[in-house]
């Protein structure tokens, strides 16, 4: 049969079959007989997913890798159930009533159960931990995804977000997002763009845990009340009620709640309705309270020693129970000195040490978190492998994740302050005016656990054995060697090209750095540090001392069941997966024409092909 006829016919047939299946599910749900679906990758179970991607964008092993992570998650979930059952009786005493003795353990265990609970998604196939596994420092767990699409497939596979999932560890220590008026700088928040401000729950880490469950490309629940609904069905409901009170999950959910919560957010059937579960005002208030309790519980877990334990070699060094090796100390001195890393990744110590010198400053009276809680534009190139760019067509539910395709530019915090495309509403209109000074800025992550990998893999660095990670907001960097080399030579090896177009005779990430995605506000603390190759290696060695688990074993570090990689070089690790950036369309108005406008305007590109002329000079003027 002619292909032009066959393809539309097959497509039409599939849509009919899918429609019938969804109709059947609706009947089941209406009858209270909704069945958990467990295909994991193919939520509708009919051999079709949302796959708008050109060949090669999704990794070949994506399906088995998703299944592998899900098995690991379920293992830890079962372990957490055991931890719950081992808890002593939970009794509230005193005034105000407090869970005496076991309160911390109880809420941390509850948070752990929530974190590894796959039921918190429409197709019961995505837990929070799907993007945040312990062996990766509670960062992204699939090497092939880290090498390619960089964002992780959500409950409705293969919808995906736009950024590298940030590590959980020490996220609870970030303060509520605030603008310091004296310094005219922002501090705090969670997420790369700081959009989890924490203003309402007084804790950005807790607020962070409220975003993915209702993010259309992550868990994708269509209503925050679905969290209360699924918790009311949870095996560990008794623990929730023991912590937060009896009957706190007794809501009168409408009969169609299951059907609604089984449908991913963004579905055309919901329109712009963010509360499709029709609750009474009193029950809506209860559901909102449960959603806050969800956030508090997850924060308690992430704050606990199971996630953020301060057990690295560096912590042992501070306690004087470990002596840094000669190389580690040399790396530390470079980190604080020539590398200037601690201008942002603050080590909490007030003295730049020299060999034989000891820190006697008063600023060491903080636990060093290796972040300044600020944001910066480091000038990363646009990564054309980012799955976000390709999701330009509607999925089965009529949802299009990114209608502007490569017209998207990631302005980070600037877009958030404008309540802009792909971010979240900013809760403070007074800050909108500062958007142009934060365009292109992303949060300065803690350097702690940047090197954490499964023990059997041993390293982030080729030739390994190593576990492939991804670094920075768009995952462009694939090893710590590259990360340090980028800071060291970003400007020295600048070429006015897009990724995948470095000139002949150069090697991308070695002696060619493509131009930044956003040229505004580029941080010039680094970019030409003059570090030697050996000095870069020493800083990597020091970064490895920031990995928890040295003083006491890191919980659940041994849960990785995938394979480690070997071979190659850390300098070019992952370069075989570079692809040429296509000729870029202008930045879409919905991103770049939102007032207050970026200053200077976001430039589409220069020298990236005949279709993209060099723009006229546009110097910044005061």
């Amino acid at each position: 049969m002619n292909r032009r006829i066959l393809v539309p016919l097959l497509r039409t047939s599939l849509v009919v079959v899918l429609a019938l299946m969804v109709a059947n599910q609706e009947v089941l749900a209406a009858a209270g007989g909704a069945q958990p679906r467990d295909s994991g990758v193919d939520p509708l179970g009919v051999g079709i997913d949302y796959d708008p991607y050109p060949p090669g964008i999704l990794p070949n092993d994506l399906v088995p890798e998703i299944q592998r992570v899900r098995r690991e998650i379920n293992f830890i979930f079962q372990q957490a159930l055991g931890e719950w059952r081992a808890l002593p009786p939970i009794v509230h005493t005193g005034q105000p009533p407090t869970i005496q003795g076991v309160g911390y353990r109880a809420i941390q265990t509850l948070g752990k159960l929530m974190n590894f609970d796959e039921n918190m998604s429409p197709f019961r196939n995505r837990a929070c931990s799907f993007c945040h596994m312990p062996y990766a420092g509670f960062g992204p767990p699939i090497p092939s995804v880290n090498l390619t699409m960089i964002a992780y497939p959500g409950s409705m596979a293969f919808r995906a977000g736009k950024r590298n999932p940030q590590r959980y560890t020490y996220a609870p220590w970030f303060p509520v997002l605030e603008r310091n008026p004296t310094q005219n700088l922002f501090f705090g928040g969670n997420f790369w763009d700081s959009r989890a401000t924490g203003f309402l729950v007084a804790n950005p880490d807790a607020e962070q845990s409220q975003h993915p469950p209702v993010d259309t490309q992550e868990h994708a629940l269509p209503d925050t009340a679905c969290i209360a609904f699924r918790l009311s069905q949870a095996q560990y409901r008794p623990l929730y009620e023991a912590v937060f009170g009896p009957n706190t999950l007794n809501l009168n959910f409408p009969a169609d709640t299951e059907q609604i919560c089984d449908t991913p957010g963004g579905a055309a059937v919901f329109g712009n309705d963010t509360e499709p579960v029709r609750l009474s005002p009193a029950d809506r208030t209860r559901a909102t309270t449960v959603f806050t309790r969800w956030a508090e519980s997850l924060d308690a877990y992430e704050r606990s020693s199971q996630v953020s334990p301060f057990t690295s070699k560096f912590d042992a060094f501070l306690k004087s129970t470990y002596t840094l090796t000669k190389e580690e100390m040399a790396g530390y001195l470079l980190f604080n000195g020539k590398g200037n890393c601690n201008s942002c990744h603050v080590d909490g110590r007030g003295t730049t040490l020299h060999p034989g010198q000891f820190d006697n400053s008063t600023t060491a009276s903080v636990k060093p978190l290796f972040t300044c809680f600020g944001s910066a534009n480091e000038g990363l190139p646009l990564n054309p492998r980012n799955a976000f760019y390709y999701q330009t067509t509607p999925d089965f539910f009529g949802f299009t994740p990114n209608s502007i395709g490569f017209g998207y530019r990631d302005l980070g915090m600037g877009t958030f302050l404008r309540s802009g495309y792909g971010s979240a509403p900013s809760p403070n209109a007074d800050w909108t005016q500062f958007a142009p000074t934060t365009d292109g800025q992303f949060q300065v992550s803690t350097a702690r656990n940047v090197a954490m990998v499964p023990p059997q893999c041993g390293s982030t660095e080729a030739p390994g054995p190593y576990f492939q990670k991804e670094f920075f907001h768009n995952g462009y960097i694939k090893s710590l060697k590259q990360l340090v080399h980028f800071y060291n030579t970003r400007d020295l090896f600048f070429f006015p090209v897009l990724s995948g177009h470095c000139p002949p005779g150069t090697t991308e990430k070695v002696n060619c750095w493509p131009m930044p995605e956003v040229r505004n506000n580029i941080d010039c603390t680094t970019g030409n540090l003059g570090l030697t190759d050996r000095e870069e290696d020493l800083i990597v060695i020091f970064l490895e001392t920031l990995t928890d688990g040295f003083i006491t074993p890191f919980p659940n570090i041994n849960t990785y069941t995938g394979t480690c990689m070997t071979g190659g070089s850390a300098s070019t690790q992952g370069n075989e997966f570079l692809i040429p950036t296509p000729t870029l369309p202008p930045c879409a108005p919905v991103v770049c024409n939102v007032p207050p406008l970026p200053d200077p305007p976001i430039v589409e590109c220069f020298d990236c092909g005949p279709a993209c002329p060099i723009p006229p000079p546009n110097p910044r003027t005061e």
Partner: protein, 149 residues
């Protein structure tokens, strides 16, 4: 003496584990603003390549806000430095000196520019230091200039 320092350092670090509070307690106060800032290494062209020029100079650590902006006023006429480029950097609390680097985009090739540098805190307050006028010439298209480290 070294032993004494070591003991003090250990005591301080260990005490911090018991006394520190999370979140707000981690925000270090900014450095005290220096009474006087001096340029100790004169401005110079660091890098010039198609579409990107970087000017650098070194001062004593100016203190004040965590982020500072290096500022370059420039133009092709030494009497008209009406164009301005600014780049942010983050001060290192432990360093005595600060290297300012400013990116200037999209200059014309093979053109001589005159410039003067200064710096300010992120709130716009000047560091009260200004250089004399210097000059540089951009390379031809495709050529690359890189100063010695």
């Amino acid at each position: 003496m070294i032993r004494l320092f070591r003991t003090l350092a250990i005591a301080t670090a260990v005490a911090s584990f018991f006394t520190s509070n999370h979140a707000a307690a981690q925000l270090l106060p900014p450095l005290k603003k220096a009474a006087r800032v001096k340029i100790i290494k004169a401005p110079e062209l660091e890098i010039a390549v198609d579409h990107l020029t970087i000017i650098r100079w070194t001062t004593t650590n100016p203190g004040g806000s965590d982020v500072h902006y290096g500022i370059v006023h420039y133009g092709t006429d030494p009497k008209d430095l009406s164009q301005t480029a600014k780049s942010p950097l983050r001060l290192n609390h432990g360093h005595r000196y600060t290297v300012f680097r400013v990116r200037i985009d999209d200059l014309k090739p093979q053109t001589t520019y005159y410039y003067r540098v200064g710096s300010e805190e992120s709130n716009g307050e000047s560091d009260r230091v200004t250089s004399t006028v210097y000059k540089f010439t951009t390379p031809a298209p495709g050529e690359r200039f890189v100063a010695r480290p």
